[in-house]
Amino acid sequence: MFTEASLHVTMRVDGPSVRTVLVRSTRMVQAARLFAGKQPAEVLQLLPAVFSLCGTAQALTGLAAMEKAAAIAASPAQKAARSLLLLGESVSEHGLTVARDWPLLAGAAPSLDHAKRLRHALAGLRAALYPDGDWLHLGGGQLRPDTARINTIVGQCRDTLTQLIGHDLDELMQPIAFMAWLQRESNPLLALVTNRCWQGLGAGAAFLPMPELGPPDLSARLQTDREGIYLARPDCAGRVFETGPLAHWHWHPLLTDLTDRFGTGLLTRLAARLVLLAESLREMDEHRHDLRGEPAAPLPRLDGQGLALTEAARGLLAHRVVLKEGLVGQYQILAPTEWNFHPEGALVRMLTGAPADQDLELRARLLVHALDPCVSCTVAVE
Protein backbone atom coordinates (compact mmCIF):
# COMPACT_ATOMS: atom_id res chain seq x y z
CA MET A 1 0.00 0.00 0.00
CA PHE A 2 1.40 3.41 -0.96
CA THR A 3 0.49 5.90 1.76
CA GLU A 4 0.50 9.60 0.97
CA ALA A 5 3.18 11.42 2.95
CA SER A 6 1.99 13.63 5.79
CA LEU A 7 2.97 15.54 8.90
CA HIS A 8 1.59 15.02 12.39
CA VAL A 9 1.95 17.70 15.05
CA THR A 10 1.27 16.78 18.68
CA MET A 11 1.23 19.42 21.42
CA ARG A 12 1.75 18.12 24.96
CA VAL A 13 0.11 20.41 27.49
CA ASP A 14 1.37 20.83 31.01
CA GLY A 15 -0.80 23.14 33.13
CA PRO A 16 -1.56 26.45 31.44
CA SER A 17 0.71 26.07 28.39
CA VAL A 18 2.18 23.79 25.74
CA ARG A 19 5.24 22.08 27.20
CA THR A 20 6.51 20.18 24.18
CA VAL A 21 5.66 19.99 20.48
CA LEU A 22 6.38 16.82 18.53
CA VAL A 23 6.48 16.77 14.73
CA ARG A 24 6.31 13.38 13.02
CA SER A 25 6.91 13.25 9.29
CA THR A 26 6.28 10.41 6.84
CA ARG A 27 7.76 12.39 3.96
CA MET A 28 9.85 10.38 1.54
CA VAL A 29 12.96 12.53 1.75
CA GLN A 30 15.23 9.86 0.24
CA ALA A 31 13.02 8.83 -2.67
CA ALA A 32 15.15 10.83 -5.13
CA ARG A 33 17.94 8.28 -4.58
CA LEU A 34 16.10 6.06 -7.03
CA PHE A 35 16.85 8.49 -9.83
CA ALA A 36 20.36 6.98 -9.85
CA GLY A 37 21.01 5.03 -13.05
CA LYS A 38 18.37 6.89 -15.07
CA GLN A 39 18.93 9.20 -18.01
CA PRO A 40 18.81 12.91 -17.04
CA ALA A 41 15.95 13.48 -19.50
CA GLU A 42 13.97 10.66 -17.88
CA VAL A 43 14.40 12.23 -14.43
CA LEU A 44 13.35 15.62 -15.77
CA GLN A 45 10.14 14.09 -17.14
CA LEU A 46 9.43 12.35 -13.83
CA LEU A 47 9.94 15.38 -11.59
CA PRO A 48 6.81 17.37 -12.58
CA ALA A 49 4.75 14.16 -12.65
CA VAL A 50 5.49 12.96 -9.13
CA PHE A 51 5.51 16.29 -7.30
CA SER A 52 1.94 17.44 -6.92
CA LEU A 53 2.19 21.01 -5.65
CA CYS A 54 5.43 22.37 -7.03
CA GLY A 55 6.13 20.28 -10.11
CA THR A 56 7.45 23.22 -12.13
CA ALA A 57 9.85 24.31 -9.37
CA GLN A 58 11.05 20.75 -8.83
CA ALA A 59 11.65 20.21 -12.53
CA LEU A 60 13.36 23.56 -13.10
CA THR A 61 15.59 23.13 -10.05
CA GLY A 62 16.54 19.67 -11.30
CA LEU A 63 17.24 21.11 -14.73
CA ALA A 64 19.45 23.85 -13.25
CA ALA A 65 21.37 21.31 -11.12
CA MET A 66 22.02 19.11 -14.16
CA GLU A 67 23.12 22.12 -16.21
CA LYS A 68 25.57 23.10 -13.47
CA ALA A 69 26.91 19.54 -13.36
CA ALA A 70 27.43 19.56 -17.13
CA ALA A 71 28.78 23.15 -17.18
CA ILE A 72 25.95 24.33 -19.42
CA ALA A 73 25.04 28.02 -19.16
CA ALA A 74 21.43 28.76 -20.09
CA SER A 75 20.96 32.04 -21.99
CA PRO A 76 19.36 35.12 -20.36
CA ALA A 77 16.20 34.52 -22.44
CA GLN A 78 15.94 30.91 -21.21
CA LYS A 79 16.47 32.09 -17.63
CA ALA A 80 13.72 34.69 -18.05
CA ALA A 81 11.33 32.08 -19.47
CA ARG A 82 12.05 29.70 -16.59
CA SER A 83 11.59 32.50 -14.04
CA LEU A 84 8.19 33.24 -15.58
CA LEU A 85 7.18 29.59 -15.18
CA LEU A 86 8.42 29.48 -11.60
CA LEU A 87 6.67 32.72 -10.64
CA GLY A 88 3.52 31.57 -12.39
CA GLU A 89 3.46 28.45 -10.21
CA SER A 90 3.89 30.58 -7.07
CA VAL A 91 1.02 32.85 -8.14
CA SER A 92 -1.16 29.79 -8.81
CA GLU A 93 -0.31 28.15 -5.46
CA HIS A 94 -0.70 31.22 -3.26
CA GLY A 95 -3.72 32.48 -5.22
CA LEU A 96 -5.34 29.10 -4.60
CA THR A 97 -4.56 29.43 -0.90
CA VAL A 98 -6.14 32.89 -0.64
CA ALA A 99 -9.18 31.89 -2.71
CA ARG A 100 -9.86 28.44 -1.31
CA ASP A 101 -8.06 27.85 2.00
CA TRP A 102 -8.36 31.26 3.69
CA PRO A 103 -12.19 31.32 3.62
CA LEU A 104 -12.36 27.64 4.67
CA LEU A 105 -10.11 28.30 7.67
CA ALA A 106 -12.51 31.06 8.75
CA GLY A 107 -15.60 28.91 8.20
CA ALA A 108 -16.65 30.84 5.06
CA ALA A 109 -17.35 29.60 1.53
CA PRO A 110 -14.28 29.33 -0.72
CA SER A 111 -13.93 31.48 -3.85
CA LEU A 112 -13.35 28.55 -6.17
CA ASP A 113 -14.24 30.55 -9.26
CA HIS A 114 -11.26 32.87 -8.70
CA ALA A 115 -8.96 29.93 -7.99
CA LYS A 116 -10.09 28.24 -11.18
CA ARG A 117 -9.62 31.37 -13.27
CA LEU A 118 -6.06 31.77 -12.00
CA ARG A 119 -5.20 28.14 -12.74
CA HIS A 120 -6.84 28.31 -16.14
CA ALA A 121 -4.89 31.46 -17.09
CA LEU A 122 -1.55 30.09 -15.91
CA ALA A 123 -2.08 26.68 -17.48
CA GLY A 124 -1.31 28.30 -20.85
CA LEU A 125 2.03 29.78 -19.81
CA ARG A 126 4.28 26.84 -20.79
CA ALA A 127 2.79 26.66 -24.27
CA ALA A 128 3.11 30.45 -24.65
CA LEU A 129 6.86 30.11 -24.07
CA TYR A 130 7.75 26.65 -25.37
CA PRO A 131 5.12 25.65 -27.95
CA ASP A 132 7.03 22.42 -28.69
CA GLY A 133 6.72 21.38 -25.03
CA ASP A 134 10.49 21.06 -24.56
CA TRP A 135 10.76 23.43 -21.57
CA LEU A 136 12.91 20.84 -19.73
CA HIS A 137 15.51 20.46 -22.47
CA LEU A 138 19.03 20.78 -21.00
CA GLY A 139 20.53 24.12 -22.05
CA GLY A 140 17.11 25.40 -23.08
CA GLY A 141 14.30 24.25 -25.35
CA GLN A 142 12.96 25.88 -28.49
CA LEU A 143 11.87 29.24 -27.08
CA ARG A 144 9.19 30.99 -29.15
CA PRO A 145 7.50 33.44 -26.76
CA ASP A 146 3.99 34.55 -27.67
CA THR A 147 4.26 37.99 -26.11
CA ALA A 148 0.60 38.90 -26.57
CA ARG A 149 -0.54 35.68 -24.91
CA ILE A 150 1.90 36.15 -22.01
CA ASN A 151 0.67 39.73 -21.50
CA THR A 152 -2.90 38.44 -21.40
CA ILE A 153 -2.02 35.73 -18.86
CA VAL A 154 -0.29 38.17 -16.48
CA GLY A 155 -3.17 40.64 -16.91
CA GLN A 156 -5.77 37.95 -16.18
CA CYS A 157 -3.90 36.94 -13.02
CA ARG A 158 -3.74 40.54 -11.83
CA ASP A 159 -7.45 41.14 -12.55
CA THR A 160 -8.51 37.91 -10.84
CA LEU A 161 -6.46 38.64 -7.73
CA THR A 162 -7.81 42.21 -7.56
CA GLN A 163 -11.37 40.87 -7.69
CA LEU A 164 -10.59 38.16 -5.15
CA ILE A 165 -9.00 40.51 -2.64
CA GLY A 166 -11.34 43.41 -3.37
CA HIS A 167 -8.45 45.84 -3.74
CA ASP A 168 -5.67 46.60 -6.21
CA LEU A 169 -2.84 44.30 -5.11
CA ASP A 170 -0.03 46.81 -5.77
CA GLU A 171 -1.80 49.55 -3.80
CA LEU A 172 -2.32 47.11 -0.97
CA MET A 173 1.44 46.90 -0.56
CA GLN A 174 1.32 50.40 0.99
CA PRO A 175 1.04 49.96 4.78
CA ILE A 176 -1.68 52.64 5.06
CA ALA A 177 -3.78 51.00 2.36
CA PHE A 178 -3.28 47.57 3.90
CA MET A 179 -4.36 48.68 7.38
CA ALA A 180 -7.45 50.43 5.94
CA TRP A 181 -8.32 47.28 3.96
CA LEU A 182 -7.84 45.18 7.07
CA GLN A 183 -10.25 47.35 9.05
CA ARG A 184 -12.91 46.95 6.35
CA GLU A 185 -12.83 43.20 7.11
CA SER A 186 -12.90 42.40 3.42
CA ASN A 187 -11.24 39.01 3.95
CA PRO A 188 -12.82 36.46 6.30
CA LEU A 189 -9.57 34.93 7.59
CA LEU A 190 -7.87 38.25 8.24
CA ALA A 191 -11.10 39.47 9.89
CA LEU A 192 -11.04 36.41 12.17
CA VAL A 193 -7.39 37.02 13.06
CA THR A 194 -8.09 40.70 13.79
CA ASN A 195 -11.30 40.13 15.76
CA ARG A 196 -9.68 37.49 17.96
CA CYS A 197 -6.56 39.69 18.41
CA TRP A 198 -4.38 36.93 16.95
CA GLN A 199 -2.26 39.23 14.78
CA GLY A 200 0.84 38.51 16.84
CA LEU A 201 0.28 34.78 17.28
CA GLY A 202 3.67 33.06 17.41
CA ALA A 203 5.54 36.37 17.36
CA GLY A 204 7.41 35.63 20.58
CA ALA A 205 9.45 32.87 18.92
CA ALA A 206 12.88 33.47 17.40
CA PHE A 207 12.63 34.36 13.70
CA LEU A 208 15.51 32.80 11.75
CA PRO A 209 15.06 33.64 8.06
CA MET A 210 16.87 31.50 5.51
CA PRO A 211 19.91 33.36 4.08
CA GLU A 212 19.22 34.63 0.54
CA LEU A 213 21.78 32.23 -0.97
CA GLY A 214 20.78 29.30 1.24
CA PRO A 215 22.72 27.86 4.19
CA PRO A 216 26.45 28.44 3.66
CA ASP A 217 27.24 24.78 4.42
CA LEU A 218 24.50 23.34 2.18
CA SER A 219 26.77 21.85 -0.50
CA ALA A 220 29.15 20.24 2.00
CA ARG A 221 26.32 18.84 4.13
CA LEU A 222 24.55 17.31 1.12
CA GLN A 223 27.77 15.76 -0.19
CA THR A 224 28.43 13.96 3.09
CA ASP A 225 24.81 13.00 3.86
CA ARG A 226 25.06 9.28 3.04
CA GLU A 227 22.17 8.21 5.31
CA GLY A 228 19.74 11.02 4.46
CA ILE A 229 19.83 12.42 8.01
CA TYR A 230 20.46 15.98 6.82
CA LEU A 231 17.70 15.70 4.19
CA ALA A 232 15.21 14.75 6.91
CA ARG A 233 16.34 17.25 9.57
CA PRO A 234 18.47 20.01 8.06
CA ASP A 235 20.26 22.61 10.17
CA CYS A 236 23.15 25.02 9.89
CA ALA A 237 25.51 24.92 12.86
CA GLY A 238 22.55 23.95 15.03
CA ARG A 239 20.24 26.67 13.71
CA VAL A 240 17.06 25.64 11.90
CA PHE A 241 16.14 28.36 9.45
CA GLU A 242 12.66 29.26 8.30
CA THR A 243 11.98 29.55 4.59
CA GLY A 244 9.00 30.79 2.60
CA PRO A 245 7.28 34.10 1.84
CA LEU A 246 8.08 35.89 5.13
CA ALA A 247 11.68 34.68 5.25
CA HIS A 248 12.20 35.79 1.64
CA TRP A 249 10.35 39.14 1.81
CA HIS A 250 10.81 40.15 5.47
CA TRP A 251 12.54 43.39 4.40
CA HIS A 252 9.53 44.49 2.28
CA PRO A 253 8.08 47.83 3.54
CA LEU A 254 4.65 46.33 4.27
CA LEU A 255 6.14 43.45 6.22
CA THR A 256 8.58 45.62 8.19
CA ASP A 257 5.61 47.84 9.11
CA LEU A 258 3.54 44.85 10.23
CA THR A 259 6.52 43.37 12.08
CA ASP A 260 6.90 46.67 13.96
CA ARG A 261 3.21 46.51 14.93
CA PHE A 262 2.66 42.79 15.54
CA GLY A 263 6.03 41.05 15.32
CA THR A 264 6.66 38.11 12.98
CA GLY A 265 3.36 36.55 13.98
CA LEU A 266 0.33 35.21 12.17
CA LEU A 267 -0.85 38.42 10.48
CA THR A 268 2.62 39.28 9.15
CA ARG A 269 2.95 35.73 7.82
CA LEU A 270 -0.41 35.85 6.06
CA ALA A 271 0.41 39.29 4.63
CA ALA A 272 3.69 37.84 3.32
CA ARG A 273 1.58 35.62 1.04
CA LEU A 274 0.00 38.75 -0.46
CA VAL A 275 3.42 40.38 -0.81
CA LEU A 276 4.67 37.30 -2.64
CA LEU A 277 1.68 37.47 -5.01
CA ALA A 278 2.20 41.18 -5.76
CA GLU A 279 5.96 40.85 -6.17
CA SER A 280 5.67 37.72 -8.32
CA LEU A 281 3.35 39.53 -10.75
CA ARG A 282 5.73 42.51 -10.83
CA GLU A 283 8.69 40.21 -11.55
CA MET A 284 6.71 38.44 -14.26
CA ASP A 285 6.18 41.83 -15.90
CA GLU A 286 9.93 42.48 -15.79
CA HIS A 287 10.98 39.07 -17.13
CA ARG A 288 8.72 39.46 -20.16
CA HIS A 289 11.12 42.07 -21.55
CA ASP A 290 14.06 39.62 -21.53
CA LEU A 291 12.33 37.02 -23.70
CA ARG A 292 13.33 36.31 -27.27
CA GLY A 293 13.09 33.40 -29.67
CA GLU A 294 15.89 30.81 -29.53
CA PRO A 295 16.45 27.34 -30.98
CA ALA A 296 16.90 24.37 -28.65
CA ALA A 297 20.47 23.96 -27.39
CA PRO A 298 22.64 21.00 -28.53
CA LEU A 299 23.30 18.39 -25.83
CA PRO A 300 26.89 18.09 -24.57
CA ARG A 301 28.39 15.14 -22.70
CA LEU A 302 26.90 15.04 -19.20
CA ASP A 303 29.41 14.56 -16.39
CA GLY A 304 30.01 16.37 -13.12
CA GLN A 305 28.10 17.47 -10.07
CA GLY A 306 25.75 20.39 -9.58
CA LEU A 307 23.72 22.04 -6.84
CA ALA A 308 20.83 24.38 -7.71
CA LEU A 309 18.63 26.47 -5.43
CA THR A 310 15.22 27.88 -6.28
CA GLU A 311 12.86 30.12 -4.32
CA ALA A 312 9.77 27.96 -4.87
CA ALA A 313 6.25 28.81 -3.70
CA ARG A 314 6.91 27.45 -0.19
CA GLY A 315 10.54 28.52 0.14
CA LEU A 316 14.04 27.42 -0.70
CA LEU A 317 14.24 24.23 -2.75
CA ALA A 318 17.61 22.54 -3.33
CA HIS A 319 18.52 19.78 -5.81
CA ARG A 320 21.97 18.20 -5.99
CA VAL A 321 22.93 15.82 -8.75
CA VAL A 322 26.03 13.85 -9.70
CA LEU A 323 26.19 12.85 -13.39
CA LYS A 324 28.48 10.02 -14.49
CA GLU A 325 28.98 9.10 -18.13
CA GLY A 326 25.67 10.60 -19.14
CA LEU A 327 23.59 8.99 -16.36
CA VAL A 328 22.43 10.20 -12.96
CA GLY A 329 24.82 8.80 -10.34
CA GLN A 330 23.35 10.45 -7.26
CA TYR A 331 20.32 12.70 -6.64
CA GLN A 332 19.20 14.58 -3.53
CA ILE A 333 16.29 16.95 -2.92
CA LEU A 334 15.94 19.21 0.12
CA ALA A 335 12.48 20.82 0.29
CA PRO A 336 11.24 23.84 2.34
CA THR A 337 8.96 21.72 4.53
CA GLU A 338 11.97 19.95 6.09
CA TRP A 339 13.14 23.32 7.44
CA ASN A 340 9.79 24.76 8.53
CA PHE A 341 8.44 21.56 10.10
CA HIS A 342 11.75 20.43 11.60
CA PRO A 343 11.43 19.11 15.19
CA GLU A 344 13.28 22.27 16.27
CA GLY A 345 11.97 24.50 13.49
CA ALA A 346 9.74 27.56 13.19
CA LEU A 347 6.43 25.81 13.97
CA VAL A 348 7.78 24.14 17.09
CA ARG A 349 9.34 27.42 18.24
CA MET A 350 6.03 29.26 17.80
CA LEU A 351 3.89 26.66 19.57
CA THR A 352 6.14 25.82 22.52
CA GLY A 353 4.88 27.71 25.55
CA ALA A 354 1.62 28.74 23.85
CA PRO A 355 -1.37 29.17 26.20
CA ALA A 356 -3.33 25.92 26.42
CA ASP A 357 -6.87 27.30 26.19
CA GLN A 358 -9.87 26.06 24.21
CA ASP A 359 -8.57 27.77 21.01
CA LEU A 360 -5.19 26.06 21.05
CA GLU A 361 -5.93 23.60 18.27
CA LEU A 362 -7.39 26.27 15.97
CA ARG A 363 -4.46 28.61 16.64
CA ALA A 364 -2.03 25.77 15.91
CA ARG A 365 -3.84 25.01 12.63
CA LEU A 366 -3.55 28.67 11.60
CA LEU A 367 0.18 28.66 12.32
CA VAL A 368 0.60 25.40 10.37
CA HIS A 369 -1.25 27.05 7.50
CA ALA A 370 0.94 30.16 7.76
CA LEU A 371 4.04 27.98 7.33
CA ASP A 372 2.32 26.17 4.47
CA PRO A 373 3.41 22.50 4.45
CA CYS A 374 3.35 20.84 1.05
CA VAL A 375 1.63 17.74 2.46
CA SER A 376 -1.41 17.31 4.69
CA CYS A 377 -0.79 17.97 8.40
CA THR A 378 -2.78 16.80 11.42
CA VAL A 379 -2.79 18.65 14.74
CA ALA A 380 -3.49 17.02 18.12
CA VAL A 381 -3.42 18.12 21.76
CA GLU A 382 -2.45 15.70 24.53
Partner: protein
Amino acid sequence: MCMAVPSKVVAVDGQMATVEAFGQTRQTSLLMIEEDVRVGDYLVLGAGGTFAAEKVSEETALAAIDYLSQVLADGLA
Protein backbone atom coordinates in the same frame (compact mmCIF):
# COMPACT_ATOMS: atom_id res chain seq x y z
CA MET B 1 8.52 14.98 -0.35
CA CYS B 2 5.20 16.24 -1.60
CA MET B 3 5.06 13.32 -4.00
CA ALA B 4 1.73 12.59 -5.60
CA VAL B 5 0.45 9.30 -6.88
CA PRO B 6 -1.35 9.72 -10.19
CA SER B 7 -4.79 8.21 -9.58
CA LYS B 8 -6.97 6.52 -12.20
CA VAL B 9 -10.56 7.71 -12.49
CA VAL B 10 -12.94 4.78 -11.98
CA ALA B 11 -16.22 6.74 -11.73
CA VAL B 12 -17.44 10.30 -12.31
CA ASP B 13 -20.52 11.75 -10.65
CA GLY B 14 -20.97 15.41 -11.52
CA GLN B 15 -18.13 17.39 -9.94
CA MET B 16 -16.89 14.39 -7.92
CA ALA B 17 -14.76 11.48 -9.07
CA THR B 18 -13.82 8.15 -7.55
CA VAL B 19 -10.14 7.50 -8.17
CA GLU B 20 -7.87 4.52 -7.56
CA ALA B 21 -4.15 4.27 -6.86
CA PHE B 22 -2.20 1.30 -5.50
CA GLY B 23 -5.46 -0.52 -4.71
CA GLN B 24 -6.87 2.37 -2.67
CA THR B 25 -10.00 4.22 -3.84
CA ARG B 26 -11.16 7.64 -2.70
CA GLN B 27 -13.38 10.54 -3.66
CA THR B 28 -11.98 13.79 -5.01
CA SER B 29 -13.51 17.05 -6.21
CA LEU B 30 -13.15 18.01 -9.87
CA LEU B 31 -13.96 21.67 -9.23
CA MET B 32 -10.39 22.82 -9.94
CA ILE B 33 -10.05 20.89 -13.21
CA GLU B 34 -10.84 22.74 -16.42
CA GLU B 35 -10.69 19.79 -18.81
CA ASP B 36 -13.32 17.14 -19.31
CA VAL B 37 -12.63 14.19 -16.97
CA ARG B 38 -13.69 10.67 -17.95
CA VAL B 39 -13.34 7.17 -16.56
CA GLY B 40 -9.83 5.91 -17.38
CA ASP B 41 -8.20 9.36 -17.13
CA TYR B 42 -5.37 9.94 -14.65
CA LEU B 43 -5.47 12.76 -12.07
CA VAL B 44 -2.86 14.17 -9.72
CA LEU B 45 -4.50 15.15 -6.44
CA GLY B 46 -3.58 18.10 -4.25
CA ALA B 47 -2.34 17.66 -0.65
CA GLY B 48 -4.88 15.65 1.32
CA GLY B 49 -6.62 14.54 -1.86
CA THR B 50 -9.77 16.66 -1.42
CA PHE B 51 -9.29 18.40 -4.76
CA ALA B 52 -7.88 17.01 -7.99
CA ALA B 53 -5.10 19.36 -9.09
CA GLU B 54 -4.22 18.27 -12.60
CA LYS B 55 -5.08 15.81 -15.36
CA VAL B 56 -2.00 13.99 -16.70
CA SER B 57 -1.42 11.81 -19.72
CA GLU B 58 -1.49 8.03 -19.34
CA GLU B 59 2.18 7.82 -20.38
CA THR B 60 3.25 10.32 -17.69
CA ALA B 61 1.03 8.66 -15.08
CA LEU B 62 2.35 5.17 -15.76
CA ALA B 63 5.97 6.37 -15.64
CA ALA B 64 5.30 8.02 -12.26
CA ILE B 65 3.49 4.96 -10.91
CA ASP B 66 6.39 2.75 -12.02
CA TYR B 67 8.85 5.00 -10.18
CA LEU B 68 6.65 5.16 -7.06
CA SER B 69 6.36 1.35 -7.11
CA GLN B 70 10.16 1.22 -6.94
CA VAL B 71 10.12 3.70 -4.03
CA LEU B 72 7.67 1.40 -2.24
CA ALA B 73 9.65 -1.77 -3.05
CA ASP B 74 12.89 -0.20 -1.78
CA GLY B 75 11.28 0.76 1.50
CA LEU B 76 11.73 4.47 0.90
CA ALA B 77 7.99 5.23 1.30
